[in-house]
C-alpha cells in the first residue's frame, strides 16, 4: 500500500462510529459517519501538512500577544 493510499484510508465510518460510542453519542448512521470521516480527515491533513517542524516551544497563548505585537502602533 502506498503512503498516500494509507493516509487517505486513515479514518473511515466504522472508526468514527467507534469514537462516537467512546464519548457516549448514539449511533450516527453510515452516511453521517462517512461525512464526518471525510471532514475530519481533510482537517487533520492540513495540520499534518503545516506541522513540518517541532512545536516544542510553541505556546498557543502567544497568539493573542502576537496579534497585538503585529498591529501598527496605536494612534
Amino acid at each position: 500500500m502506498t503512503r498516500a493510499r494509507h493516509e487517505a484510508q486513515a479514518l473511515d465510518a466504522a472508526m468514527v462510529e467507534a469514537l462516537a460510542r467512546l464519548v457516549g453519542y448514539p449511533p450516527l448512521g453510515a452516511e453521517t459517519a462517512a461525512r464526518i470521516a471525510a471532514g475530519a480527515s481533510h482537517a487533520v491533513a492540513a495540520v499534518r501538512a503545516m506541522a513540518t517542524h517541532s512545536l516544542f516551544d510553541a505556546e498557543p497563548g502567544q497568539y493573542l500577544t502576537e496579534l497585538e505585537r503585529l498591529a501598527d502602533p496605536p494612534p
Binding site: V23, A51, L55, Q62, L70
Partner: protein
C-alpha cells in the same frame, strides 16, 4: 426631512439629533417595512413591536429632557438571534434553544442599547451559526432581497437581508468562517469581521471560542465605523478581549487611498473566480487606482491550508460545546448541523493542539510576507455569483458541496488568522445579484479598511441602489 427608507444610519442619527423626526416615528416606519417584507424575506425570527416602540419613546423622552444617550440615539437596529438578552428569548436558530432566555445580556447588545439603539427584533440565522447559505429547517430559509430565489448567505442571513432591504440601519452578526462577510456580500452591503479580540464575545452564543468573531453589518463605511466604535473595546467578561485603545474609526474615513498599496494575491484566492465576478473586482480595483492606490503582487503563505486549520479548531470546540446535547438530544439537530458539530469527535486532540500552536506562527508569517509588500490585501469576498436556495439545499444539485466550498473559499482563511476582513459591495453580476470585494488588514487595522471602503463608496453609488424587496 430625510427619507427613512433611503437614509443611512449616520443620516438617520443626524436627523434625530436635529429633531427632524422622532425615534418613535422612525421606529414605526421601520416596523412597517419589517411587517411588509418579512413574509417574503423571513429575515426576522421575531419582530418585537412593543419593546422597540417603548425603547423609541424612552429615547425621545431622554432627548426632550436634554439627556442624549449616545451616538446611536433612537436608531433602529436588529441583532442575529444568538446574542443573549436577559429580557427575551435567544433561539440561536435552533430547536434545542427555542425559548431559551439568557441570564445576562451580551456585552455587544448592551453596548448598542447604551449608545441609544432601538432593537427591532431577532434576526434569522443558520442553526447554531453553522452554515454559509441561510437555510434553516426549523424557522425557514432567509431570502435575498435582490431575488428571493437566491440565498441571503449565512450564517448571519437575517442580518444581511434586513439591512439590505432597508428595514434597519445596521445589524449585529457573528463570523466563525465567513458568517458576517458572506451575507454582506450576498446582499450588497458591508460586513466587518474585526480582529480577534477587538469586539467582545461575552454573552454571544459560542460556536468556537478560539475562532468566533462578533461584528457589524451596514450599508456604508461611515455607518459601519459608527457601529464598530460602539462595539469595540475591552470587556472583563471576555478573557480574549483586547485592552488596546479603540481609535476614532469615523475620523479614519477621510484618509483616502493615495499611495496605498493594494496586495493582489498570486496564489489560491483568484484561482477559480467566475469571469463575471473577476470583471467586477477588476473594475473596483480600477476605481481605487484612480483614487491613488496602486497594485502590488503578493503571495499568501499557507493559503490552501488555513481554512482546514481553522476547521480543526472549530470542529473540536463545537463538539465540546455540543457534547451533552449530542449525547442526549441528537434528534433535535438537523442532520447537517449534527454532522458538523459531531465532526470534532474524529479530530485527534493532538491535531487540535497543534492547530492552536501553529496559529501564532502562521499569523506572524502571514503578516511578515503580505504586509511587507502591501498595506491592504484584496480578494473577492465571493468567488461565484450568489447561488439559488435550491442549488445549495440538502439534496439539491449534485454540485452542492462544491458550491458551498466555493462560497467559503475566500473568507474562511482569515478566521483562523484572526486579522480584520471587510466585505465591500462592488456591483452586480449578470444575474442581478451583488458581488463584493474583501479587504484584509494587519491586526487592529479596521480603520484602514474602513478608509478604503469609504474612498470606494465616495467614487461609486452601488450602496445607494435599492433591492426590489426593499
Amino acid at each position: 426631512m430625510i427619507d427613512p427608507a433611503g437614509a443611512t444610519l449616520v443620516e438617520a442619527a443626524g436627523a434625530l439629533v436635529r429633531g427632524e423626526l422622532s425615534s418613535e416615528e422612525l421606529t414605526r416606519d421601520c416596523l412597517a417595512r419589517a411587517h411588509r417584507l418579512n413574509p417574503a424575506l423571513n429575515c426576522f425570527l421575531r419582530i418585537e413591536d412593543e419593546a422597540a416602540l417603548a425603547a423609541a419613546r424612552r429615547a425621545d423622552a431622554a432627548r426632550a429632557a436634554g439627556r442624549p444617550l449616545g451616538v446611536l440615539h433612537g436608531v433602529p437596529l436588529a441583532v442575529k438571534d444568538m446574542f443573549y438578552d436577559a429580557a427575551r428569548e435567544t433561539s440561536s436558530g435552533s430547536a434545542i434553544r427555542r425559548g431559551f432566555v439568557g441570564t445576562t445580556t451580551a456585552a455587544t447588545l448592551e453596548r448598542l442599547k447604551l449608545a441609544g439603539a432601538v432593537v427591532l427584533g431577532a434576526l434569522n440565522m443558520t442553526e447554531f451559526a453553522l452554515g454559509p447559505t441561510g437555510h434553516n429547517p426549523f424557522y425557514g430559509a432567509c431570502h435575498n432581497p435582490w431575488n428571493p430565489a437566491h440565498i441571503a448567505g449565512g450564517s448571519s442571513s437575517g442580518s444581511g437581508a434586513a439591512v439590505a432591504a432597508r428595514i434597519v440601519y445596521g445589524a449585529l452578526g457573528s463570523d466563525t468562517g465567513g458568517s458576517i462577510r458572506l451575507p454582506a456580500a450576498a446582499n450588497g452591503i458591508l460586513g466587518l469581521k474585526p480582529t480577534y479580540g477587538r469586539v467582545p464575545r461575552s454573552g454571544a452564543m459560542p460556536l468556537s471560542w478560539s475562532i468566533d468573531h462578533v461584528g457589524p453589518l451596514a450599508r456604508t463605511a461611515p455607518d459601519l465605523a459608527r457601529l464598530l466604535g460602539v462595539l469595540a473595546g475591552h470587556d472583563p467578561g471576555d478573557p480574549t478581549a483586547s485592552r488596546r485603545p479603540v481609535p476614532d474609526y469615523e475620523a479614519a474615513l477621510g484618509a483616502g487611498v493615495a499611495g496605498l498599496r493594494l496586495g493582489i494575491p498570486g496564489n489560491f484566492f483568484l484561482d477559480d473566480v467566475e469571469p463575471a465576478i473577476a470583471a467586477l473586482v477588476e473594475d473596483a480595483l480600477a476605481v481605487l487606482e484612480r483614487a491613488g492606490a496602486r497594485r502590488v503582487a503578493v503571495t499568501v503563505p499557507a493559503a490552501e491550508h488555513l481554512t482546514e486549520l481553522g476547521r480543526t479548531v472549530v470542529y473540536t470546540e463545537a463538539a465540546a460545546l455540543h457534547g451533552h446535547w449530542l449525547r442526549t438530544r441528537p434528534e433535535d439537530y438537523s442532520p447537517q448541523v449534527r454532522a458538523r458539530v459531531a465532526t470534532g469527535v474524529a479530530i485527534p486532540a493532538a491535531a487540535y493542539a497543534e492547530a492552536l500552536q501553529l496559529r501564532a506562527l502562521l499569523l506572524r508569517e502571514f503578516c511578515t510576507e503580505v504586509f511587507s509588500a502591501c498595506d491592504v490585501l484584496v480578494t473577492p469576498a465571493l468567488a461565484i455569483e450568489v447561488p439559488t436556495l435550491a442549488a445549495t439545499d440538502v439534496g439539491g444539485s449534485a454540485s452542492m458541496w462544491t458550491t458551498i466550498a466555493r462560497l467559503l473559499k475566500c473568507v474562511a482563511p482569515f478566521n483562523y488568522l484572526g486579522v480584520p476582513a471587510l466585505s465591500v459591495p462592488v456591483g452586480f453580476a449578470p444575474g442581478g445579484l451583488p458581488a463584493a470585494l474583501q479587504l484584509i488588514g494587519r491586526p487592529f487595522a479596521e480603520g484602514r479598511l474602513l478608509g478604503v471602503a469609504a474612498a470606494y463608496q465616495r467614487a461609486t453609488d452601488w450602496h445607494e441602489r435599492r433591492p426590489p424587496l426593499g
